[in-house]
Every structure is written in structure tokens, then in C-alpha cells.
Amino acid sequence: MAKTIADELAKKQQSISVSEFFTKNRHLLGFDNPRRALLTAIKEAVDNSLTEDMPIVIREDGNFKIIKIGGLIDSYFDKNKGEKFILRDGNLEKLKLKNNIEAISFDPKTLKVQFKKISYLYRHKPNSPIFRMKLETGRYVDLTPYHSVFTIKEGNVCSVKLSDLTVGDYIIVPRKEWGKKLPIIKEINLIEELLRLEPELTAKINVYNVSNIFTKEIIKQLKELLPKDKQYRVNDFKKMSYIPLNLLRKLIITLDELDDTLIGYSLSRNKIPSLIKVDNNFAQLMGFYLAEGSTLSNLEKVYFSFGSHEKEMIVYTKDLIYKVFKIKASSISAHDSAVNICCYSKIFAFIMKYILQFGMNAKSKTIPGIIFNMNKNNRYDLLLAYLAGDGYPSKDIFELIKTKRYISSLPVQKITSATISSELFTKLQYLLSSLGLNYNTGFSKSKTRYLSGIEAKFSQSYYLYIYTNQKNSNINKLPISDSIVSHNDCQLRHRIKIHNQNGIYRDTLIQQNNNTMLLYKNINLFLDSDLGVLRIKDIKEISYNGKWVYDISVPEAENFLAGIGPIFCHNSLDACQEAKILPSIKLVMKQLQEDRYYISVEDNGPGIVKKQIPNIFAKLLYGSKFFTMKQQRGQQGIGISAAVLYSQLTTGKSAKITSKIGKNHPAHYYELKIDTKNNEPEIVVDKEVQFDSDHGTKIELEMEAIYQKGARGVDEYLKQTAIANPHAEIIYIDPEGKTIIFPMATKELPKESKEIKPHPHGIELGIFISMLSSTKTKNLSSFLTNDFIRISGPNAKKLIEEAEMKVTMKPNSLNSDQAEKLYKIIQKAKIMAPPTNCLSPIGEEALQKSLEKEVPAEFFASVTRPATVYRGNPFVIEAAIAYGGQLEQEGPIKLLRFANRVPLQYQQSACAITKSVIDTNWRNYNISQSKGALPQGPIVVAVHMASVWVPFTSESKEAVAHYPEIIKQIKMALQECGRKLASHIRKTVRVREQKERASLFEKYIPEIASALSNLTKEKKDNITDKLNKILKKSLKNLLPEELEEKDGEKDKTKQK
């Protein structure tokens, strides 16, 4: 609304220069006097992943998958196009996940590995070089320099940005097996799987041995399904006891009835059971397939190639094929040194290709997700069978399979295996990790070698080295410097000094006794955890052609397992609120002359891209949040450019801006003026400079100003800003050179606010008309449905027809009468309220904490109301109250007003917040209040309104307009606080009175003694003594009870 005023003002005065416009309207903009100008200028200034092919481990609706993060996220974005949030001019997209997808993460508290639900998916345009971080065992992950991974520091696991890491640093990876957390499957029902495929693929597949299904009911169903001239086939099915799979699709039948059936190709002899047991046989067979198997893509056969010397293994495999698939395979010698086991079974090939999906040939081999749903023993079986085929020493490993032993009993130090499938290489690493087995990797480029004079081409291969003695794996080493505080082990000291040893084995740490080593406090938690560390081998920039880089959000855990070889990655986005950097603002003020000041404001925000700097700082009415419906801090008045203009008009000096957007970007320095005739930026200086922080913006201004302390001064403004932004740190150097630090009250960042489209009831006619003319939509119907929330297609049609217009009309073809007519009809129509989850309130607890920090009171209470809506705009009201302590006893209460975390210091009496405070009956809460006035007493009341659109009474944005819905919510919040306060006041008053009365007994005693002595002739002193003794005894029983009650109440309010 206020924006409209500014727009109208600007339009009306287009003919005059911006400086004239500014001068005429400075009162509206907050620059009406030098004192206020200073404050306004400061307010303006103060306010303001992984690459696509990285595999990630997820569980989608319970099914395990190792999937490329890019593919995963892109597919979800494609499926839910309408629901993504597009942020930062399309550079960032965000999607809330409704599906149940979980990632593997570690619990930051217990350090145990678990599945955790993913809440958001992100992708953003790559805006920095991409780096590959490679660990000592060969695992690597590609990420942006500001994406974090985890390291261990002084015994604690903490996240660290890639840009802050160097070679040799320790990175957190899973150490123990995590596969047991997966659900186990015991059998694969092939019919069920086949039914999931497209019918075209399964046209020739029949199900056999189905005599028991032909009930009258099924026959009836079949006859209805078949055309009349084909109905005779039902008799054939019954006779031959089979049914085509594609007919089965259409029958109403439970699959349980098909348990003992077979499947096969039509007219083919080879049939296989439709139920495959997932047992050790299956696992071993698939392991051998991974190593030696292939499937012809024409489905002619599945075959396994063995060396001719591996006779035992050949027999064993043939046996497995029969056991699992009931297929008798034949051995065919391929050449001198090789024997193939061939299964000419089309159905087997089909199953391998479309259902089991272990890959067709050596290059495309992979491990499907289903394998991770096998139990540990079976996964181990599969691994051993694979290693027996592809690994060395093959024979020894094969022995292990037969004797059911573990690799630790092998006579060699390590098992080596090689594959040319990068896919298989990655998945094997996850398989090993799921089993808690540690390994090393290697890589050899493709090369040509001469073997016995014959040229042989070797393609590039990936090597895996699995240690038979797991204890000596690097993963079991921890950094000495971050595990041990101090020690008096001279051998160790020697090794560190002479041999540069910087790792130490877990076992050494576990077995050490406290006399020789002092460990970091939390290292024991880590030693006991599911985690290990591996050192960074190198970090280097790689070229990246992906359209996006990706991230996911895993609430609570804030990490997920990803990479070529599993590595825990932090979920993080780039800068500031979105990047979860806690904001810090530094303000410096210096007095230059009596009425002239220098101010500089520096933040650690995301920075501003170079080409935007002149427009933002030196063009009036640029970059307003017109049409963006998102709760945002700051953007007071008409923007920082007004402050720049004021500075320019009062001192003639230009504004100095420095901004840097990231570590690998230069810092840009501008000196800017506003060309007041054309309202265009005038660049005085433009150069690159040094900047202390990685990112942030700094503005320096000189201006005519009066610096005053007090209720409307800069100091008070900063104090209140600190209250409304408990997560921010403010450093202030005042004109006297004194440094004042407002520390953070909480380290938790506020919930991010979301951008929403405008609600049709929340806009003025003027805005509606300009939206009509500027919309990108082609017709009225899509204008209403796309540019607004909560208008559905049918609804739009109804509204447009009611206005006697056509849905196909071009939005910009409406004349102003038509526009107004449509607008009025929309305003009258019942439209669902907008969503309210797009707001970011300060939060009850945080608000109270920051008030406690800044206000010296004895009692605090706060409340955050549920979100509601006024005129189509969602909003949240929060209120907090501080009472007693060192607060001023007399006079009216101190009222702090906030809108979207910005303090409102002027126009208190015009504000809806003030009205709501006055209208609340404070006498109900034992607080004195005269009619039509603020209540009185030692009280500070803070009220915050968070909304996508706070309705201000004027463009200087100092008072909230009087909407009944808003006033109602404020009053309800105040009443809730008032009730808490009243109960506190009553308690304290009662306790005080009771104490006073208890002391009254002492005073009563001489009186009653003299009266009694009068009656009884007993000596007065005797009576006094006795009574005093009784009093002392009973006081013990009297007082503690009351004190306990008081403490109990205190706890209660804290909890709240």
C-alpha cells in the first residue's frame, strides 16, 4: 500500500527532477530533519552443493537406491513443476518433498548412522568453480567451495566448508556397517515385477502351472476379456494350465494364488519359477554374474565366462543356476583358456535385463538397489562370489564361500579386484561400506600392452583393495592433534616429531590409560560411534558442464551420505540466511563537523553482484519488492538510494560501496552519485579492492545529521534491532569511539520465509491494473491462475464470465473500466485464504531470550500467535512482555514496535500496535491504566508483526495501519502475555504479603502476652518466650512451602 503511494508520487512528479521530488516528500521518506535522517540512513544500510553425477544413497518409499543426485533431484523437479520455489532470479530452485525419501545421515548428537527423511531438494546454477575433494582411499566428492563436509576438531564432529579445507585434513565417513538398517526382502515375485513392466515388453510371456486359478468366476472374467471369436482359447488355457501374462494383468485375482507357478516365453521349453528366493544361492549366483556374467541384448542367452582352470567354480555356478532358476546350463569352451556357461533361456535373459538389472556386460555392470535389501550374510555372499570371480586370490576366496568363512581368515593381506564399470566400482564401495568393510581404491588408465608379442588393449579399470585385517585400515586412524589434548608418551612424541606421525589408531586411544594421555572430552563418543575419518589426498578444480549443482535438506541431521565412495556431506546453501551464516553487522559513526557525520555499515551477507551495485545504491525506486510476496527484513522507506541522495544533497559527497560475493570473487568498490535529473546512477569511481571478509557489503556515507541518544536515536534503534534479530550480532562504534556489542541471543537461524504469489484479496486496484499490463500470460484465465495464488482454472472462468468477459481475452487489452469491474468481482468472490507457512516469525523462545538480554527485568513472557490473514496477506503477531527488576517503576510502559524485524520508532500514536495496547484492558492483569492511555508500571512490551506485506500508514513505514484483523491478533497476543504476567504479579504480591504477615506474628506476641498475663497473672516475659519458640518452630513449616511454590512457577514460565 505504501508502495503505491510512492509510485503515485513518483508518477505525478515525473516532470520534476528526483531531487525536487525527494525534497518535497522527504517527510514521507523519513528524512524530514537531520536527526531523523541519520536514523533513516542507518536503517536503510543495515537492512538489507554437489555436482549432478555424485551418487547419493536414498531410500525411496522403503526401497534402497544409489542414484545420481542430479537425476534424482531433476526428476522430482520435473514431476512437481508447479510446486517449486524459484528464488534469486531463477538461480536457485527449491522443492518441498512430499514423498517419503530418506537419506543416510549421522545423528549429530549420538554420531550413529541412520535413515533420515529429506525435506527439501535444491538445485542452483553453478556460480563458482567446482572442486573434487579426494580422500586417501580414493573416495571423492565433487562440490562447490562453499559446500561443507565434516571433520573432527578437538574431539567434536563439525562441518567445514570445502574452501577452508586443505590436503591432510580429516573427513568424516561411515566406518561401521549401516546396511542392517535396511528392510530385508526374502523373495522376489517375478510375476509381480513383470506386471510392473510395460505390456508391450511382456506380450509373449505366459504363466504356467496355473490350473487352480480357473474358477467359474475367472472363466467368466476371461470370456468377457476376450473377443467372441477368441473365446475358445479359454479352454486351451485350462487344458494346458497356462495364461498369458498380459491377460493376467486384466484379471481380478490375488497374486498369492500364483505362488507355485512358472513363467516362460510362449512356445519355449525353458520355464523358471515365478517366485525366486533371495537366499545365499541367489546372492552367490548374482555375485558370479557381476564378475563373469553377460546377457545378450537380443535375449538369446545369459552366459558366464570362466577360465578353463576354474573347473570347480564352473560346476558350482551351474549348480547355482539350477538351484535358483531351475535351468540346466551347458558348458561350452570358448577358446583355449576359457569356458562359457550358457543358459539359452529367453525368460532368464529377460529377467536379467529388465528386472534384476545387474548390467548386460562388463562395462555396464552394476549393483541394483535390491541387493542392499538383502540380509548381511547374503550381501557378504554376493561380495565373496564377485571377488572369487573378479578378485585375487580367486581360489582362496572361493574356498571361503565353500567353507563359509570371512575374509579375515584369508592368508593374504588384501584382496584386489578390478572392474571396468565405473558404476559397479561406485556401488561396490557402498556395498563394502554397508558391510562395514574398509577398502582402498585405485585407477589405471586404458593402455596398450604387449603380451607375448601380441598387442592387447586394456581399457581403463578401477581397483578395489580390501584389507583382510580391517583394523589396520586408514579409517581406523584418528588425527592425533584433535584427539589428544596432551600426553607423556615419549615414543609417541618421538614418532610425531621425527616421523611426522599425525594419525593414531582407534584401538590405541581406546586402550590408553589416563595416566599417559589426556583425550578430548568428546572423543570417546566418536570412538564409540559409527563414524571414521579419512584424510584429504587432494582438492582440485574440475571442469563442470552441468546446468545445476544440487543439495538436499535433511532436517535435524543436516548431513547426508554421498560421493564416489561414501562421504558425509553437509546440507548447505550459499550465503547468509539461506547459507545459514549468522548475520553480523558492523556500524561505525564519526562526527566530522558539528552537524556532519560519517557513517559506515558493513554486513557479512551474500554481497551484491557488480552490475547491480549502481542501481541499488544510486537509483530511486529501483529493485523494490513489487509483486514479490515474501516477508523480508529491511528495505525501509524507498531504499538505501534515498539515503545516498540525502547524503549527496546535504554534503555533495558520493557514497562509497564495497561488495564481495564470495571467496573466489574480487571485491568491487564504487563511488556513486545519483544523476538527479534522470534518476540514473553516476559512477564516480569503479575499481577492485581488498575486502576483509569472504563476502559482504559495506556502505560509507557522509551526511548532515544530528546525533542524539534517547528513544528515537540510533542507539535505541540498534538495541531494538538486536531484540528483533536474536540470531544477529551487531557491533557499533559510536561517535565517541566507544564499541558496543549486541551479541546474538540464539545461534539458531530463523525459519526461512518463502516467496508466494499475491493473493487476489491482498492487492489494490492500481496494482491489479499494472499487473494486467505487465503480465507474461497470454489470456485472462491464465493471468488469474498463474499470477495469483488460490484461483483455480474453473474459478477463474467463473469470475471472468461473471464480469462478462472472455477467458481468452488478452490481459493488456482490458480498458480501465473492465479492469475495475473484474477487480470488484474478484474482491467480492469467496477465495481460499493464502498459505501462512511462508512467514518467519522471531519465535517465542528467541524473542524472550533477546528481550532478557537487553532488558533488565525480573519476569519475561512471550507468545507467537498462529498465522492468520488480513486482506489476503498472511501475517503473524508476536508479543513479549518484561516486568519489574530495574525497570522504571513510574510512568507509562515502554512499547517496542517491530514490523518484519525492523523497529518502528516514530509515529507511535498512529500505529495499530499502540492502539491495540491501549485497547487491551490491563487492569485485568493488575496493571494500572487510565482510560485511553498506555498502561503504567515497570513494563516493556514488544510487539512484532511478520507479514509478506505489512500495511504501513505512510511511506516512511513507521506505523502499522489499523486493520481489525491485525488489532485483534495483537490484542490476543497481549492478553496471553498479560495473563502470564498477572499470575506472576499475584504470586509475588502474595508471597510478599505472607512474609509480612509472618513477621506480624512477632509483633503480635508481646500484645497477646500482656493481655494473657492480665487474665492469668502469669509473667508476661514467660509467655513471650514460649510463644517466640513456637513461632520459630512453625515458621520452618510455613515459609519453605511458599518459596517452593514460587520456584515452581518460575520453572513453568521458563518452559513456556
Binding site: 505472607q994 506474628f1001 503480635y1004 500484645e1007 514460649k1026 512453625s1034
Partner: protein, 366 residues
Amino acid sequence: MAKKTKQSRNSTVNALEDLGKNILSQIKKGKNPEIAIPIRALSNIEFDEKSKMVSLGNKVSARYFFHIAHAKKFLQTVEVAAVSHNLLREDKHASLRDVFYMIKRTIPGTKANIVDEQSESDSVIEDLELITDHSREQLNINANKNGSVAGKVIIEDKGDTIDWSKLGSGGWSIPSNVEEIKFKKVTAQYVLYMEKAAVWERLHEDKFWEKQKCIIMSSQGQTTRGIRRLLQRLSSEYKLPIYVLCDNDPWGAYIYSVIKYGSINLAHISGKMAIPSVRYLGITCDDIEKYKLEKHGIKLKDTDLARIKQISEYTWFKDNKAWQKQFKMMKQSKIKLEIQALSSRGISFISNVYLPEKIKNKEFID
């Protein structure tokens, strides 16, 4: 007589000293001292159908010293006991107001007074009557004089002979203690007691007592103990019928019932006060109709209606059909009538017409 008085005085002194000793022994045992006091409230009132009297039940409450809510009352009780003890020893009498001032003082070191209002000390005196089982008069504490009487009666009081028919326009004012008055000659045939002093003055001016050969008596508002005792003596010693004239409202009805059956507050001394033979003369709801006084009624307020409901449930009214009928008529007509409303029919209508007719026709309510 003097001997008898002394005996009574000794018994009172003993009762007070027993109270002191009892408290002291509790203190010596290290106990939180307590005084047991019968409860004076409707919940502890019994109405004896046979004797037609209100009497106090057995419910007793304990008053502790070390109890935030009781301490002050406890102190007041002991203070009043000590004051009364002194009065008795010195053979002096004090008024209720005197007693208030005798114990009223600020407790050193506090802002609290032992008593703030006379009602507090009055109430403690009533408690003390119950605790010691001796009446206020026996405790040598007198109420203020209240009420006037005139009629054909000659009495002797402290050696003076007084003729109630020769006391000018004011009549004789009734002292709070009438125990020691001696009746020398009573020629009146009945007693007419009225709620309003103004009505008494009217009748006195019209020499109503002379014409009707009666005694006219009044107080202002609630009937004091002195008047009630005097009425009882006239009733029991000379068998004079007693007639009561009150406003036609629930408050008037209660004044009548206090004279007849005793009061809730002083239920413990009903035996000395209640006059079960007393009759209610008017104003009745029937009078309103009979003398066409509807226009002169005052509209009943909510408090009046609530009071009607309350007293109509009192045991002594509950089964009294005549009174229930009156209450019902009051509620229906929604008006109340003051005695003075009779003046609308002429200033001496009450003495010339209303009362003689009523008495002649025996239009009473029991």
C-alpha cells in the same frame, strides 16, 4: 440482690480466667494455642419446633494464634477478655464503643491496628459470650441506648420512679440493660412495638397509648437486646399481648421473626429474648388491597426479591402457610409498603382507623 450480682460477677470472672488458663497451658505445652468457638451462622442454627425458638447447634470452629487468617481475631478475643476482666474487677460498665477504644491501638512496629472498626470488637464480644457462656451484660459491657417507650406503666430504675405516661414528647429511652428495672404499676392491656421511630412519634402525638390503653415501643431498625428483653419481661411477667408493626417487606418480616423466635447472631441467648406469643399486626399484603394502597408501594429491588427467597426458606417461615402466602403475594405484587404509606389516607389514619380496626378484628399473623 447485691449478693446475687456479686455471685454472677464471680462466675463471669472465673469463666474469663479459665479461658486465659486454657490458652496458657497450650502455650506451655508448645502448641499453637487455639480457642474453640461455636459457629454463629445459619449452618449452625437449629429451630426447635416445640419451644418455637432459634437455638445454636453444636458446630465449633477453632481459632488459632499462629494462623495468618486467625491471628488478629485471636488477639482481639484475648484483648476483649482482658478488658472485660478488668471491668468486672473494678465493677464498672463500658459501652460497646468504649470497648472498641479500649482495645484499639496500633501494634508497635507495624501499620496494623488491633481493631479498625467497631464491628470487629462487637463481633468479638459476641464470640466471648459464647466462649464464656456469659452474656454481654454479665461481661459488664452495655450496648448504647436505643428506642423509646410510652404508656400506662410506672417503673423503678436505680432508685428512681418513672411514669412512662409523663415523659413529654420523647418518652422514656430504653437502656441496654433492663434486668434491674422493677415494674411498679402496669395498667396497659397490650404492647405495640413498631419498626419506625417516626411512627412511634405519630402515635405518641395522637396519645394512641392513652386511647387504646397500651404501651407503644419502637427502636430504629433492628430491635436491640434491651428492647427485646423488656418486651419479653412485659410478656412473661404481665402476660401482655405483644403486637408488632413493621414495613411490608422481607426485612420487616425478619424483624418480627427475631422478636418471636430469636436471631441467628444471638441464637445462644434466645431463651432470654424470644417471645413465641408475639403477633404480627401489619403491614400485610392484604392491607394493601383492603386500604387501596397499591399506588403508594415501592417497587421491589433485586436485593429485596433475593431476601424474600432467603427468609422464606428459614425453618421458622418454611412451614408457616400464612407467611408463605405473604411472601408469595409480595413477589406477585412486586411492591413493598412502608408503615408511613398509611399517611396517604390522612395523617392520623393509622391511629384512628387502621390500628383500632386491626386490633378489634384480630387481624394478626402468627
